[in-house]
């Protein structure tokens, strides 16, 4: 088994995200996944060590198999239903989250803050935005109703102290504020970036670095984060992507639609 040597990484940032995120999943779990990195990561986990893992798509699909090279452009096209166990209305697949059938929600993010709140609605003031983003989709529902993994690029403009707008609630203002807001269930669990893997302090619910990728320094992480990150007492170095993992990803996405 050959390992990659930083800084000449033999994989893209997206591939790194997909591999690291896949390792956070467990066999037998029911995973609500967006297309792109989440879908690739979940499929990778299925192929590698979690054959009984089930993927749900927001468009209304339970347990599809993705045909390599035919990745869906969104969760709502027929490509998402190939060889699935069941197809159902959107509202009902989202209600699986509310009823409690889903272990993990898994999506990308545009902007995240220290309490894991996500913004995909407005850059700037909501009433006078610099950029009107596409909005929540099911993001708000997923992050309100289950435990979350988010995979995103680690950039200062994306990792902000307070998001401009809470589209998808994380721990809101930390401590017990999520629970008190009326969300006793779920919450932000892991954030996977091209620099590190983060969790949240059990007490304050502030974002905390649990592991960094090979060759990444604390300074690098800090420099790319717009707030004071906590670091775990035992920050591990993540095992870099294996060739076997990368090979699966490249089979799934030969045109590098989501892994460029």
């Amino acid at each position: 088994m050959t390992r990659h040597q930083a800084p000449h990484r033999a994989y893209t940032a997206s591939e790194l995200l997909a591999v690291m995120a896949s390792r956070l999943l467990q066999d037998g779990q029911v995973v609500f996944a967006g297309v792109g990195i989440p879908l690739l990561a979940a499929t990778l986990a299925q192929r590698n060590f979690a054959p009984h893992l089930t993927i749900l798509f927001e468009g209304g699909t339970i347990g599809p198999f993705i045909v390599p090279g035919e990745l869906p452009p969104s969760t709502n096209e027929q490509r998402c239903t190939r060889r699935s166990n069941m197809v159902l209305p959107i509202t009902d697949v989202l209600l699986l989250l509310q009823r409690g059938y889903v272990d993990v929600g898994f999506m990308g993010g545009a902007q995240i803050d220290r309490f894991g709140n996500l913004n995909s609605s407005f850059i700037g003031e909501a009433d006078n935005p610099k950029i009107r983003l596409p909005g929540t989709g099911g993001g708000n529902d997923i992050s309100s109703l289950t435990n979350m993994i988010v995979a995103m690029k680690h950039e200062k403009r994306r990792f902000v102290r307070d998001v401009d707008f809470i589209t998808s609630p994380g721990w809101i203002k930390g401590h017990r504020t999520r629970d008190r807001a009326g969300l006793p269930q779920g919450g932000m669990w892991r954030v996977v970036t091209d620099l590190a893997i983060m969790g949240f302090d059990e007490e304050t619910r502030e974002m905390k670095v649990l592991a960094m990728h090979e060759g990444v320094t604390r300074e690098e992480v800090r420099d790319n984060t717009g707030f004071a990150l906590l670091f775990d007492d035992h920050v591990a170095t993540a095992d870099p992507p294996h060739q076997e993992e990368l090979a699966v990803l490249r089979e799934l996405d030969p045109e590098r639609l989501y892994t460029a």
């Binding site: 197809v87 009107r132 929540t136």
Partner: protein, 323 residues
């Protein structure tokens, strides 16, 4: 601009439905005739989701008929939302996500209209949109739920978002107001002349929307006999008495997809994205001129997209049935 005006009093909702002719009768007509059933200012629900089973032929006909001031609601809004804004048909879109599709980035047209306050993009969570149609379908004024709370999305919709303490459990619950479109536009794989519709594959929110709406305009890949429907009544998803018009519109979702019949027309969609990336408004208006106002008919529109693309999209569409 408050959507509370969209919540119809129960007696009004019922009597509008009861006043319609709900008898078993034929209602086949042209796109142009069906477009006359939609009035300026109506709340129009649009079936399908993102690029799937979008009733594009009917939207095309409405834009050509120069409808305006429509309030439009949809699960997720893609290029049809751009075109409804740019054509002036709508200034208010209720949806959970609005852009062409993830791979094409943020819609420049949506940004132009919303950032310049020329139109309102009223954002609800995806499940909440679905539950609002479901409440409408069930004839109840709201549906309880457990998301959107604690977020800024709920704060932004204002008085339409309410919470209560559950008298059984003490839980804090969200109350989502019913959404009952004046008219729902829904595209299906097949239906009969009465409007009994059978859907294959992904259903999205179409069934709830059909039941919630005062009336449904169906476009369909093909019209089959009522006898054929009656052979598999457990495959019927929309009952005829909700339907006011049936229009046969083959390849009626182009350039979006129709499950099992054709996939999205990616070349066309890439070309559209390229036009609007350069100049959002001008690009979109040029597209409208070329593909919406120019063609003589829906077939002519498809011809403009091109036979190669039609065949390719259909080949990919059928492939979902392959082993």
């Amino acid at each position: 601009m408050k959507s509370e005006s969209l919540i119809k009093p129960y007696q009004q909702l019922r009597s509008a439905t009861l006043a319609r002719d709900r008898g078993l009768r034929e209602k086949v007509m042209s796109l142009e005739e069906a477009a006359k059933l939609v009035r300026d200012g109506d709340h129009v629900g649009i079936g399908g989701c993102t690029m799937s089973r979008t009733p594009m032929a009917m939207i095309w006909a409405l834009i050509r008929a120069r409808r305006k001031d429509l309030t439009v609601s949809r699960s997720i809004t893609s290029t049809e939302g751009d075109l409804l804004l740019a054509s002036g048909a709508s200034r208010h879109i209720i949806t959970s996500w609005f852009s062409q599709g993830i791979v094409w980035g943020v819609s420049k047209v949506m940004r132009h209209f919303t950032e310049n306050k020329l139109a309102r993009f009223e954002e609800w969570s995806h499940m909440s949109i679905g539950l609002r149609y479901r409440a409408g379908a069930m004839g109840i004024p709201f549906m309880p739920s457990r998301s959107m709370i604690g977020s800024d999305v709920s704060k932004r919709v204002g008085d339409d978002f309410k919470t209560m303490e559950c008298p059984f459990s003490g839980d804090r619950l969200v109350l989502l107001p019913a959404l009952n479109p004046d008219v729902a536009l829904i595209h299906v794989q097949r239906c009969d002349a009465y409007g009994n519709a059978q859907l294959d594959g992904l259903q999205f929110m179409d069934i709830d929307m059909a039941m919630a709406a005062n009336r449904v305009i169906l476009t369909t890949e093909r019209i089959v006999s009522n006898d054929q429907i009656r052979r598999t009544p457990d495959q019927t998803r929309i009952p005829f008495f909700t339907v006011e018009a049936v229009v046969e519109a083959p390849i009626g979702c182009a350039p979006h997809e129709c499950y099992g019949v054709y996939e999205p027309f990616f070349t066309q969609l890439d070309a559209y994205a390229e036009r609007t990336a350069k100049d959002a408004l001008q690009g979109c208006c040029d597209y409208l001129d070329e593909f919406y106002y120019g063609p003589k008919s829906w077939a002519d529109y498809l011809a403009k997209i091109g036979m190669d693309e039609v065949l390719d999209a259909c080949r990919r569409g059928r492939s979902v049935h392959n082993d």
